[in-house]
Assembly symmetry: C2
Homo-oligomer: 133 residues x 2
């Protein structure tokens, strides 16, 4: 199954139009894995010279609202966005800033006070990645 078809269907399922700009944004996020607003904008401008930054923001928000993408808040830097997928955790390299997906811990032993109901947890590991070692 081809990716562009996949995303086109996904968008339609959610009642969104499959526009070239949206498809490009999804492809960029898929290719980069994790990208911030500016990376997406710089990259998409290569194909859509006159695309508006407002369009990028509007699409990011729409895709977030529909759960097609997710925002990752990274310590000390700008948020990155990624295609929503199976649950996982993240590793951010303190040298180069690159964010990597890592498998999440099987069991998270956190003691919560009486009356606190956990629904989910996000784990961000900070360290040095392979390339920066």
């Amino acid at each position: 199954m081809e990716k562009s078809v996949h995303y086109a269907d996904l968008l339609k399922q959610k009642g969104l139009k499959s526009t070239p700009q949206r498809m490009a944004m999804l492809r960029i996020m898929e290719t980069k894995g994790h990208a911030d607003i500016d990376e997406i904008y710089q990259e998409i401008k290569k194909d859509f010279v006159s695309i508006s930054l407002a369009t990028v923001y509007k699409n990011i928000n729409t895709l977030l609202d529909e759960g097609i993408i997710q925002e990752i808040k990274v310590p000390q830097k700008k948020s990155k966005f990624e295609i929503a997928k199976y649950k996982h955790s993240h590793f951010v390299c303190e040298r180069c800033g690159e964010v990597y997906d890592v498998q999440r811990p099987k069991k998270l032993n956190i003691e919560l006070p009486e009356g606190f109901e956990p629904r989910e947890a996000s784990v961000m590991v900070v360290g040095v990645c392979k390339r920066c070692h």
Copy 2:
């Protein structure tokens, strides 16, 4: 030991001046536990009617630089700031948005690919807090 003395000394140790505005910001963060820029600004204006929002930002950055406070990036909402203390994790209530300190997991079982060196990890649990239950 009185708190205000404590902070005054801490500031001096770091080569920072112990100004009334700074002390107030630290007290607010200590009292609230976790506060965002606007909460701090609204609160401090009660005592310093003409304080500038720029002063709040400048102090937040100075205190962050010296490691006296820490930024907590909360999913879907604005960053909160807290007095730096022993390592811990956070719980954020998806109903009221309140952030709570919780003890961090004793052992975090994350499988990292070959060549990735972890230095530390931050865990954010999302759920419903006692008061919102």
